[in-house]
Point group: C2
Chain length 593, copies 2
């Protein structure tokens, strides 16, 4: 936590939302800026009383320039930090990599960023968000029964972030930590340098280099991969694809139990997982999921691993939270179990099946020392005997980049609209129907003053109509739980998945770029033809892996969105049909009026 000692003065009064980790300050108040790396127009600051929290940057002025006298602009939307790669780490990637496809920088959040987690306040889905695990983090060496408590169990993954969660009271991080990556390290000493000048633009290869991808590409790593470690990629009419297992399985998560140790000083929730292939229950804590997530990210270099649901900071033992988190863990496990590569992997199987503490530790250590992780993962890919047209692959990747970028925008937009719609259903729509209902009820009350027999049926019918509109108001309030919430959940899950894709695409782009650079060196007579051919062949392996994963993503995406849309429309149809029926029974009351 670097305190840069930058000072700012409040331009306007800001009434911060404490629950969102915001800091209240007044016009003229001096604040110390803790970090400007929050994104979305938010900074973190500390006031003179030592309180720390988020502030809208447009509400303060760094100390130097004079104060303008405009009225305050609207505050930016609540801070969301899930997608934003922190500027100090990912600047090269965010700007160069995507701009090379003509797209804008991904982390330019629109002024009113969608924020699905916000709608928690309106009731309904208790969404705790998902968090990305560190791709390159040191795996913890803690054993089965270490003394982390839940408060601390993900400390290890906070080591590279600027804003550690305990500084943000409430849900200040809005359910989503920034993707954790190591600080950028220039890799100018890579094997690549032996062929000549390393261009500045190669900075963007750093991720690739770090994962060992360049070592693989340049042929400086090799191994005698055993048959059982091989991952087969096949050609299909939709392009390269993973070889889907003939016997898919499922895994149910149930019976979360609050357990404790150290004489009750430390407590945690243990979830019971039962894979369908074994039908043997294993008990796992959140920290085990977290460990698994790290291992999957470390090993499966070309597979974006969806973020886990985020850790909650308060209310972790409340039933609603526990069952909601369990549901989110179930969604995550479902997706992993459906993945043709992950579901068959040793580390995942270890997680799903190991019941013995000693074996757990051994398997854990083995996974952490897995020979074929990072760049070496590509050694295990068994590709079709065809070679790929690099330009064609580049074109496909470019389209897919646009796809991911576009879909990410869509998710944000739809989450925003859905979130708004949810609020409208529980607020103004409900009120509108109840205003109408109330006015009919009042009319009936007046009409009731006429005691003539022939008017009583009408009065009763109008009163009934008033009740009907009130009930329709209640239906509006409840409806989001019947259709919208499931859609929001899918959108939110995809938003998380999409946030992990840039790393994968970047890696592939690095490989292609390097292969093309080698071709250029060959043309300049500075690299032997056979070496270049080998590089291109290995670049093909990376392309095969990436394309196979893209294929899997699209396959899942089509199934998920078909399901999502059908469920949503079913819910909507039932809703409007129910309204119609209610109105029809109100109309019937007038028959004898």
């Amino acid at each position: 936590m670097a305190d840069m000692a930058i000072q700012a003065r409040g331009l306007y009064d800001f009434n911060g939302d404490l629950d969102n980790g915001e800091l209240t300050f007044s016009t003229g108040e001096t604040l110390t800026i803790v970090t400007q790396d929050i994104g979305e127009g938010w900074w973190e600051a500390r006031n003179e009383a030592g309180q720390q929290g988020l502030i809208p940057e447009s509400y303060v002025q760094l100390l130097e320039p004079p104060e303008p006298s405009f009225p305050p602009p609207p505050p930016p939307s609540a801070p969301v930090s899930d997608w934003n790669t922190p500027q100090t780490e990912g600047g090269d990637w965010n700007n160069d990599a995507w701009n090379s496809h003509g797209s804008e920088s991904w982390d330019q959040e629109p002024p009113h960023a969608p924020d699905y987690t916000n709608h928690n306040n309106a009731g309904g889905v208790n969404n705790q968000g998902f968090r990305g695990g560190g791709m390159q983090q040191q795996a913890s060496e803690e054993g089965w029964d270490d003394d982390w408590d839940d408060e601390n169990e993900d400390n290890s993954s906070n080591s590279t972030t600027n804003t550690s969660q305990d500084q943000l009271p409430g849900s200040g991080n809005f359910g989503l930590s920034a993707p954790k990556r190591e600080k950028k390290q220039m890799t100018q000493n890579s094997d690549f340098s032996k062929y000549g000048t390393v261009k500045k633009s190669f900075n963007r290869f750093s991720t690739f280099a770090k994962t060992g991808g360049d070592a693989f590409l340049m042929g400086t790593v090799s191994a005698n991969v055993s048959e059982s470690d091989l991952i087969k990629i096949i050609d299909t009419q939709d392009g390269p694809a993973w070889n889907y297992p003939s016997q898919p399985y499922t895994c149910a998560i149930k019976s979360p139990k609050k357990e404790s140790k150290l004489k009750g000083l430390k407590s945690y929730i243990a979830y019971q997982l039962t894979p369908s292939f074994s039908n043997i229950q294993v008990s796992r804590r959140y920290k085990h999921f977290d460990w698994l997530h790290e291992r999957l990210e470390a090993k499966f270099t070309c597979i974006p691993i969806p973020p886990l649901p985020d850790k909650a900071l308060s209310g972790r033992y409340e039933d609603d939270f526990v069952s909601e988190r369990m549901r989110q863990l179930q969604l995550w496990v479902d997706r992993m179990v459906r993945h043709p590569v992950i579901s068959q992997s040793e580390v995942f199987n270890h997680f799903l099946t190991c019941t013995d503490e000693k074996k757990w530790k051994a398997g854990k250590r083995k996974a952490e020392k897995d020979e074929y992780q990072g760049g070496k993962f590509f050694l295990t890919l068994q590709t079709p005997p065809t070679s790929l047209d690099m330009r064609d692959v580049e074109k496909r990747m470019e389209i897919f980049c646009r796809f991911v970028k576009g879909m990410d925008d869509n998710m944000r937009n739809m989450l925003q609209i859905g979130h708004d719609s949810r609020k409208k259903h529980t607020g103004p729509y409900k009120r509108e129907f109840q205003k109408i209902g109330g006015s009919f009820k009042q009319l009936a009350e007046t009409f009731n003053l006429d005691s003539a027999a022939h008017s009583q049926n009408l009065t009763a019918a109008i009163d009934y109509t008033g009740d009907t509109y009130n009930e329709i108001g209640d239906m509006y309030e409840k409806q989001p739980r019947e259709d919208l919430d499931y859609m929001l959940e899918v959108l939110f899950e995809y938003k998380g998945m999409l946030s992990t894709y840039p790393d994968v695409l970047k890696l592939h782009e690095g490989a292609i770029g390097k292969a093309k650079e080698c071709e250029r060196l060959k043309d300049e007579g500075r690299m032997p033809e056979s070496d270049v051919a080998a590089v291109i062949q290995r670049a093909d392996v990376i392309s095969f892996g990436t394309l196979a994963e893209m294929n899997h993503f699209q396959r899942e995406r089509v199934a998920d969105y078909k399901d999502m849309m059908q469920k949503f429309l079913h819910g909507q149809i039932k809703f409007y049909r129910d309204i119609t029926q209610k109105l029809e029974s109100a109309l019937q009351k007038y028959e004898n009026a």
Copy 2:
């Protein structure tokens, strides 16, 4: 038009709506207040440039007190002057009369008065409002082919109002003139005074007295009413009722024609009326309706005459306006034709049937000299031979007063809600659906980047769903025309009718009060028993007439509101059913996705 030369200064800038006859002014600007009698928080003022229009009284300060420095309050809703009895005329009635029933003063408009006419701006029903004709005005002596043009044709009825319409550009009087009544004249010289002190509270009898009601009650008028002039009241299980004609008829208004005279200098619209009993078409101008309205008010003392649609000041010859006004005139004629007394009256028949100019003038003069108008109307009532229990009648009237007051409140409230709802349908609701539709369309656009065959059907289905939601948005925009507008029309018509009821109830209350006073005088030995008995018998006649009319009102009200609710619910049911169907066909698209 009295210019009182009251000056005021603008406290805030006010950006007036010219179409509503409002006057724009700035903070500090000096205005001459033309009249404070507009009501609803509006005054009429003239600026230094001589422009005249309505201003919100809370936006100015009469010249004397110092200026406060608060932010401007929201402007009051647009001026509506239908219900408000001008303060200079009706203060006694509005305060004393209703307060005697424990109800608040009727003309205390809530801060945001319902304003049905406002929604014209949003399209749909072009509602020009209704205006009440003067009850006691001098009937014009103009003939069939006088040289009033349409601009001037109701000048005669403005003689007693402060705000003549030609001073208000646009529809500044918001479709509704204040009920026209003569300035209050204390009638302490009535026959009543001969029995003793006239109490101050007898002021509230002024209306009654003015109409000649007291003369009737005290027996100082009499006549040998011919059989054909007698109006029969019968006893029914719901109380006294008019004797409904055995052969009801209808009257269609069609073919409005723009006609002109004086070599085209004057032009007007002539409507063609065809009563079903004669099937002979007669041509009538608005001024003829206006004249008829005056005559009906003058003659049928215990019958509230619904206001006519208001005169428009601009766009009078536009097709939309003409057909809308024709529809409103049709509603008015329908209601008159359904009235068992009015529909059978000579003056109404003259209006519906006379095709000859000379006969028209003669009939007009005859109607204006009708012997049995005002208080003498009661001479023509042929009541059942039963006598009424005065306390019981008082109790019924008290309940009915509450009914009228309550229903008036209901109308205002429902008009407000309906008006809001209308705006929401054409604005936010439409936009909300189109935002959802747009987001689906955008998602489909992104998904379209995936050219794999298996994803194309899903993409097409989502795109179709986007279209569906856009269309539902359009449906929301159009829906008010299918259900809400008819309801608003009925509510508005009843609001107008209810505004004319206080006069009728006041008259009856005056009669009962006078009869009770006579009973007291009898008890004190100051009035002979036989005189008192005769007064009470004549008070019964007034009660019979009033109760019969109440009965008719309730009968119409039950039929109208049954019809209104059924039409509304039919429209709503069709709407939600159509939405359901649209969504169902969207859902079908996913079957092959």
